[in-house]
């Protein structure tokens, strides 16, 4: 049989099909990435009256903003870009050695203090039955376990910021969300800078990079212990207070 040439398939409409698909994707998708700032809220518990909470002025960094977007850090009227420096000072003032009585004190933590504290909590828990109190104490116990882990990893004691040291944010009901984010941004960038430094010192890789890699990891177990350690060393305690003028 004579060999016949196979007729060429007309591919002229291929482009139209591709266009159709393209336009479908253009319409159903969006370009902007979902980004945000993660915040862990605290569990709501009724703190029993007999537990003493030691809050001294030096351990508090109170940031307030009103509806006119004026910001006060401690007792000074401040512009937003200057908050970062103040937070940095708050963390670093006494980090290496006790020098400034205006900022949080750092206490040495060693294996002995951890062990005795855990033992004391265990003993206390045996006698209590109130569920709220047990939860409160269990949270405290896990904090001590984390500290113990840090000591084991670092193979020695470390200096820790006072346990009640915290940054408080107090806004009014009409303060714009934008201001909250701007303040949060300053606080986070100050803390993350310090964490980056610590992480580089210990592991040779910045904290931000570790977090990024962990989030991309499917199981979320990558750098888990490393991140936990850095977060104990440089704690992020941000408390958002109830607006005073909220009904």
């Amino acid at each position: 049989m004579a060999k016949r040439a196979i007729p060429e398939i007309n591919a002229g409409s291929m482009a139209d099909i591709a266009f159709l698909l393209l336009i479908f994707f253009l319409v159903t998708t969006t370009m902007d990435k979902d980004t945000g700032m993660l915040r862990q809220m605290s569990v709501k518990i009724d703190v029993p009256d007999n537990i003493e909470i030691d809050v001294r002025k030096r351990n508090l960094m109170k940031i307030r903003a009103n509806a006119q977007n004026q910001i006060m850090v401690r007792t000074d009227l401040t512009e937003i870009p200057d908050i970062k420096e103040k937070i940095d000072m708050f963390y670093r003032a006494n980090m290496v050695s006790e020098t400034d009585g205006e900022f949080p004190e750092y206490l040495p933590v060693n294996k002995y203090t951890c062990d005795t504290s855990i033992a004391a909590i265990d003993k206390y828990l045996e006698a209590v039955e109130d569920q709220a109190l047990i939860e409160f104490k269990m949270a405290e116990r896990s904090e001590w376990e984390k500290r113990l882990m840090v000591i084991n990893t670092l193979k020695g004691p470390y200096r820790e910021m006072h346990r009640s040291a915290a940054i408080q944010i107090e806004l009014q009901t009409k303060t714009h969300y934008e201001i909250l984010i701007a303040i949060m941004n300053e606080i986070k960038s100050a803390i993350n800078d310090i964490r980056d430094e610590k992480a580089k010192e210990i592991y040779g890789i910045p904290y931000r990079t570790m977090v990024q890699k962990r989030d991309l990891d499917g199981k979320g177990t990558l750098y888990k212990d490393e991140i936990a350690l850095i977060e104990v060393l440089v704690p992020e305690r941000i408390v958002e207070l109830k607006p005073a003028d909220l009904q």
Partner: protein, 156 residues
Amino acid sequence: MAKFKKGGGKASPAINTSALPDIIFMLLFFFMVATTSKDIDPMVKVERPKSTETVDLTPFKQRNEIDFVFIGKPLKAKFGDQVRLQLDGQFGDPETIGKWNRVKVDDKGAQIEDVITCLKTDKEVGYGYIYKVKEALRDVKALQVAYGAEQGKPKY
């Protein structure tokens, strides 16, 4: 002297368009990779504030560990000019978000501790409203919250 051809010239050759589909497919693949599907049509106006310390939420979204809530003024005037919550395709209030959150989490079969609630808030919403929403979430033990913000340098 050169002679010019007049009239009855050759028809211009057809342009080869066989590479056109390839070009379009390239564009198509680019858009498929660079964009994410939008699953909810916003009913409230949300203009996000900027921040440099944001976390990319896409991995959480892919793992189905995040719920989105929109907070802002309704886009359509007939829904009033008060700040509202948008829970999926419905308007809601701080009083109803707790229940909505529970249903969402139960549908996924996840633990409420593992699920993040992302508050995509308009930058002009007052903090009082956000505080109420957060308290409602705290009541149902949904403790992980993400403040929606765009990556970029803040205005201030």
